[in-house]
């Protein structure tokens, strides 16, 4: 039918083609503009404008009556100067990086492993397993974190109860800094690993079976098959997913908010929770805005690479 239609175009519009096309094009661009207008409103009004406004806010003083003076930085950059001078802030930077990098690595590894395992079992059972394993991703994280919080409770930890059976001493999950950081990472990995699993499973399924057969004929071991067939074929998906997740994890807020609220003594704060603490809870809006602006360069670098990977992928598919 499509072929017939395109034939008809060339046949029917022999005369008066130019003028109608002209009008058509003019109309088309107007309509297209009108159709994208709501999107433009969202992008400019709710992302572009707040971003610019955020930068402006970060230059103001606490009461927002004027620019924030600086000692060694020019007027307007006083908030940044104070952050540069603050131990707590540098700790937050460091913690955000530890948190994001280790959580994403673990998520990617576990997700990759599970996708592989799922790919191994008969297709019949895959759906059922996949359905079960994706549950952590489906529950809104703020709510499942409440469950984790209760499992980590100092007096009533059910995880410690299990550990005690194996004669392992109780773990101060949220009390000791490194354990608290580990707990935040555990919850984030628990929540995010299924997503990686699903992505990698989709990618694994798209690797042509012939490649494996050819490799098997060449006598490749399973490690070699993984190294020389699977990984190269999946490289793009892996990098996109990892970068994507890096952005989301880096900017995570809900898990820290529910689980530790930044404690003990700010040692689990990440950018988002610290910005919240400073900006909204202590009502220093400009400094909070300055804190969250620090996320921007890191996110921009990630975004650049994601975009590159995505366009490359689109080209491959074309």
């Amino acid at each position: 039918m499509a072929a017939d239609g395109s034939l008809a175009v060339s046949a029917a519009s022999g005369t008066g083609r130019a003028s109608s096309l002209e009008r058509f094009a003019r109309r088309r661009s107007t309509i297209a503009f009108l159709m994208t207008l709501p999107l433009l409103v969202v992008v400019i009004g709710l992302v572009g404008y707040p971003a610019a406004y955020g930068i402006y806010l970060s230059t103001l003083n606490r009461r927002m009556t004027g620019f924030m003076e600086g000692d060694w930085l020019p007027t307007g950059l006083g908030n940044f100067e104070i952050l540069f001078d603050s131990d707590t802030f540098w700790m937050v930077v460091w913690q955000s990086c530890i948190f994001a990098i280790s959580a994403v690595l673990l998520k990617a590894l576990i997700g990759f492993w599970l996708a592989h395992m799922l790919h191994h079992i008969p297709t019949k059972g895959q759906r059922k397993w996949r359905g079960m394993l994706l549950v952590p991703w489906v529950i809104p994280p703020a709510l499942s974190t409440l469950g984790w919080w209760w499992m980590f409770d100092p007096s009533y930890s059910s995880i410690n109860w299990i550990l005690n059976i194996f004669a392992v001493p109780a773990v101060p999950w949220l009390g000791e800094p490194w354990w608290a950081r580990a707990s935040v990472i555990i919850v984030n990995v628990w929540y995010g690993a299924p997503f990686f699993m699903i992505m990698y499973l989709a990618a694994l399924k798209s690797v042509p079976e012939q490649l494996y057969e050819a490799a098997a004929i060449d006598g490749a071991t399973s490690w070699q098959r993984l190294r020389y067939v699977t990984l190269p074929m999946m490289a793009n998906i892996i990098s996109i997913t990892v970068l994507f997740s890096l952005i989301v994890t880096f900017a995570n807020y809900d898990i820290v908010r529910v689980l530790t609220n930044g404690g003990p003594r700010d040692l689990t704060h990440v950018f988002a929770s610290y910005a919240f603490q400073v900006g909204i809870l202590s009502s220093n809006i400009p400094r909070g805005a300055a804190v969250s602006l620090f996320m921007f360069p890191i996110l921009a670098v990630c975004a650049f690479f994601v975009l590159r990977g995505v366009t490359r992928r689109n080209k491959e598919q074309m």
Partner: protein, 453 residues
């Protein structure tokens, strides 16, 4: 009606504005009230019955004054109340009456309606106010909020007398009997003795449950200890007083010693963790108002029966108990000011105050010194009289302490909300820093606060 300082016409006039303005968002304007809707955001009480009495009192007052009173309760868990205060200050809209903890009235005083008229009338009837409440509620000699009954709390020692006797050899009931006298050994109830008891109880597996996180229970008891050593971190002009402060160092050393005898994860405890520690039966002592006891009475009665209150231990400069007052304030952008003032005055009067304190098992501490004779503290139990020493009484030689006093409110509120005093100790005990390093850190933080203010 006129007793509470509002005239019917006033209420009507103000009410009409609210009805018109609130038509979009306020579906709770019922036919019954003709005076408009008064919206109150009270502190969400930790004693299960504590909210009910507020609702009841507001309904009573509303009926008598023909004003619809809409009551909401805002929890302090996760600092939700601070979030609410800031959001309302930011958007210049919200409740008419709101509960403000410790430093918030002074920090937000520019946006609060002066309450000198209400406080003047109340003071005439009931006399003096607890000095700490006056210190926090007055800015530039003017009352900016009325010290509340509901929610105002002290944090003396709530002990398990059985465990204290068994493991630390201290008979708390004999030391602090349920009458106005000091028992044998009461004079030895010092931080030294306290630390020794804490160590013994930790060895016995029932460590003291003292939070060291950044929430008010932690900040308040640490603040009390600092005051009892005469140590403060910032003076009234906003200058940090950390360097070469021998009293502060001495107090810090004591805090370090005590916190080593606490459970390992106290650094992450919030205001509910100590309650849970007591209720679960795993702790011999907490610094808390009787909410933990009230919940234990419901869920773990055998724990509640062994609870007994004692004052805070004494330091070189006396005994100071952590005091967390709430204040009822009225936003300057409220459209119901006269009605709001009327309700606040009604809630502060002795009969209503006593009902609040009674219903909350004695939790609520009324601000007027003349009201420290409510019967409830002698009769509540089991064990009967366990709360006798919960409020401040003359024989205890105990005073109330406000963490980070005498610093200026705008700085103190930040230091308080950030828990700078507990973080100082945490850096030493948990972070392994030396006292000098940690003191240097806290001085830098205080300077940062000063610069940003």
């Amino acid at each position: 009606m006129s007793r509470n300082g509002i005239t019917r016409r006033n209420v009507l006039r103000n009410g009409a504005g609210v009805v018109a303005a609130g038509a979009l968002s306020a579906p709770m304007v019922h036919a019954q009230g003709t005076g408009g809707t008064l919206r109150c955001g009270f502190w969400d009480h930790w004693v299960p019955a504590g909210n009910g009495i507020m609702r009841e009192l507001c309904a009573e007052w509303g009926r008598a004054n023909r004003v619809e009173v809409n009551v909401e309760f805002i929890t302090s868990v996760g600092n939700q109340n601070l979030l609410t205060i800031n959001a309302q200050a930011q958007s210049r809209s919200g409740h008419d009456i709101l509960s403000f903890p410790t430093w918030e009235p002074a920090a937000k005083h520019e946006l609060l309606e002066p309450m000198d008229d209400v406080m003047g009338r109340l003071a005439q009837k009931y006399g003096e106010v607890t000095p700490a409440a006056e210190y926090l509620g007055k800015v530039g000699g003017k009352w900016v909020a009325v010290p509340a009954v509901s929610g105002t709390q002290l944090k003396p020692s709530c002990t398990r007398f059985d465990l204290m006797q068994q493991h630390a050899g201290l008979d708390m009931r004999a030391m602090w009997p349920a009458k106005a006298e000091r028992g044998p050994g009461a004079d030895g109830w010092t931080w030294e003795a306290f630390a020794a008891a804490a160590e013994k109880c930790k060895a016995a597996g029932v460590p003291f449950g003292l939070p060291m996180g950044q929430f008010s229970d932690a900040v308040d008891w640490v603040g009390g200890l600092l005051t009892s050593y005469g140590a403060n971190m910032m003076d009234a002009r906003g200058n940090p007083t950390i360097r070469n402060n021998a009293k502060l160092r001495q107090a810090v050393e004591m805090l370090v010693r005590i916190s080593r005898a606490l459970p390992d994860d106290v650094w992450a405890w919030d205001d509910a963790s100590n309650n849970r520690a007591l209720i679960s039966g795993r702790s011999a002592l907490v610094f808390n108002p009787p909410s933990a006891w009230a919940v234990a009475k419901r869920d773990q009665p055998q724990v509640a029966e062994n609870c007994w209150y004692a004052p805070c231990p004494a330091g070189p400069e006396g005994a100071y108990v952590g005091y967390l007052p709430y204040f009822w304030g009225i936003w300057s952008f409220s459209r119901m000011k006269p009605a709001a003032k009327g309700l606040i005055e009604f809630l502060s009067e002795r009969p209503q105050a006593e009902r609040q304190t009674n219903t909350s098992s004695g939790y609520d501490i009324p601000p007027f010194l003349s009201m420290s004779d409510f019967r409830i503290w002698e009769t509540e139990g089991p064990p009967t009289g366990f709360a006798y020493n919960y409020p401040v009484k003359p024989h205890q030689n105990q005073k109330t302490s406000v963490a980070f006093a005498p610093a200026p409110a705008e700085f103190a509120v930040q230091a308080y909300n950030n828990g700078l005093n507990t973080k100082l100790i945490a850096r030493i005990v948990q972070g392994g820093e030396s006292i000098d390093q940690a003191m240097g850190w806290v001085e830098r933080e205080l300077n940062t606060i000063r610069r940003g203010g």
